[in-house]
């Protein structure tokens, strides 16, 4: 499954997987992802929403589509078939030609937002990142790294060593984060770095902590290595 998605993207000379493809790949490595499906029409979208349960989030999806917040390609809290139709039309217009479908997602209530990522360092190879996510990720830069593969010890150290580690505890009526599950996610991302050498970088942002304390990937971006024929210089 993962390999098909990656090979297809490489064969098409793409730099990134779509959000939908990205999460399919992450799910293969044990990352809990938000309930979602891709719709090709308004009717599709309404049926998916019905299936997932109201309200839903809708996002424009396509292999060339990134920076969805900035481009207003996300519609939240859609709670009726009428609103699905309106949102679908709005997203289709703003996305233009790049639209390949509309992603209909379970609405995860606003909560603590984390970030998990993967990069390839020129000295140490694949490295996993963990930290405070959301739109302020690059403002606070409260992140930490480990070289893959990760041991359990590495993952739990990462979880404990960010400056904002207290955010993971029980907090203003929110439960403690499931650290075991969080550690498994970090180890799984490290495993992608070791096993999938065509994957260059990963961003999971946000990884939202749901009301019972379980992390779930709400948005994700996977960048693939372009074959040398396309002239990549990295």
């Amino acid at each position: 499954m993962s390999n098909n998605i990656i090979d297809k993207a490489v064969a098409e000379g793409r730099k990134t997987l779509s959000e939908y493809e990205s999460k399919k790949l992450l799910a293969d490595y044990g990352v809990p992802i938000v309930a979602e499906d891709i719709a090709g029409s308004v009717n599709d979208a309404a049926a998916i929403a019905e299936n997932i349960g109201w309200p839903v989030a809708m996002k424009a999806c396509g292999t060339g589509i990134t920076h969805k917040t900035e481009k207003k390609l996300i519609e939240l809290n859609i709670d009726s078939p009428q609103k699905v139709a309106a949102a679908y039309a709005a997203l289709a217009e703003r996305a233009g030609e790049g639209l390949e479908g509309v992603l209909v997602q379970e609405m995860i209530p606003a909560g603590r937002e984390l970030v998990v990522g993967l990069i390839r360092d020129k000295t140490f190879g694949p490295c996993v990142m963990f930290g405070i996510g959301g739109i302020y990720t690059e403002v606070f830069r409260d992140v930490t790294f480990r070289v893959a593969p990760l041991e359990k010890r590495d993952a739990s150290e990462m979880i404990g060593e960010i400056r904002g580690a207290a955010i993971l505890g029980a907090f203003r009526g929110m439960p403690e984060v499931d650290r075991g599950l969080l550690a498994e996610i970090l180890i799984g991302i490290g495993r992608i770095g070791i096993e999938q050498d065509k994957i260059n970088e990963i961003d999971i942002n946000p990884l939202i902590i749901d009301p019972v304390g379980a992390p779930v990937a709400v948005d994700a971006l996977v960048a693939v290595k372009q074959s040398s024929a396309t002239g990549c210089c990295r």
């Binding site: 990522g117 360092d121 690059e138 790294f145 070289v147 260059n200 961003d203």
Partner: protein, 485 residues
Amino acid sequence: MDNWKSELDCVFNPRNIAFIGASKNVTKWGHIILGNIVAGQFKGDIFPVNPREEWIMERKVYRTVGEIPADEIDLAVIVVPSKVVPGILRECADKGVKGAIVVPGGFSEEGGEGIEIERELAVIAEDAGMRLVGPNTMGVYCGRSSLYAMMPPVRPKPGPVAFVAQSGNLGTQMMSIGQRKEIGFSKFAASGNEAATAASDYLKYFGRDPDTKVLLAYIEGLKDGREFIDAASEITREKPLIVFKGGQTAAGMKAASSHTGAMAGSAQIYNAAFKQCGAVIASTPNEMLDLAWAFAELPLPRSNRVGILTWGGGWGVVTADACEKAGLAIPPLSENTIAAIDKLLPPYWSRNNPIDLVGTLDRDNHIKCLEALLADDGIDAAIVLGVVGGSTLVTAHVETMMGAPAAVQAFVEHFKEVDRQIETRLLELTEQYKKPIIGVAVASDYKPCHTEKGRIVAAPTPHMAVRMLAGMVDYNKYRDSLEED
């Protein structure tokens, strides 16, 4: 596979040395380095090589390596211009020389043709199975063989610390500072351009070296990060490795397409890698040396609970603050400990950790308080402020009051003797309780006495004492976590 590269006995413990490029000119490295080897009293034969000389430093000079009348040569020290090094290295290979130190620069660090010549050296060495140090290196040192094959006249005393530096300049100067701190070194290598032998290879060799208890590495950039992690992880199972990284750039990866990439600074990744393999990270050269001293001389603390004994209240407060910041705990004293110290100090003593000696002058009593502290099961380590190095205060006092220290020499000597007795007792207590004790002679550059039992570890500041203990606590925790896995 590549393990032969870390079999470096021919470099550090050679039976003999061919010195190629020996010179009579006192301003040439060919003279200075040879002089350092000779003056350092290297135990084996030294064969100077120079086609134009007959005698240098009362030694017969050979025209080529091939002419040296020895069947086997362990080490060649090569001090000739870069362009002729490949030819010389081939001659060495033909003679069966086992290892070579290529001192001069003019290779990959200069770019252009230098890169090609350096590659050639690596190939020659690889083909012959010859170990190659450098090129562009300040040389190596080994305490056991009394080998000072180095450019600067650094004379560290033999001891338990091995050091590899990716800058010869910084490395040899650190050795000088270490020498002043009386830290003993087993081995040193300036790895230079690392054409064939990388920092990781030296570390692997030091890890196996029975003379080495603590390893130091000054790292600017690794060619193979994975190899370093593997080597270091293996070493830290047995011996502490202290790393100081130069070049802490904050810049993220250029041309990253993800947010993760934009935030991944090289320094962060290096620090993560060091942490993962159990290395202790030093943030300054001095910290690296002080950590080395503590690791070499003290037992590891079982956990992070520190007892502070202080002659004056203020330093106790400052030290407790520093402990908390560094993740060290200052637990309350047990009732037994409080009861024991009640008998020793005036009734208004702090009855808490830190123990304030409230300026009492009975130094015997101070040691008894320390012993009560160490006997407390809730305490893993002690920092002792102002109790050691009392003689420096007396000396300063006498010099101020009398102007002429010679007249009161006996007085000062008496206090030095008291210092020696106190420090001997500290060493006995360390042994008895198997807990590290670090002394801080606040406001002086006090050097501990040489006693029959060795020397205590003394930090220049309370903050350094805290850093030393925190490094040891982290390392011990890492080792414990290996056992859990």
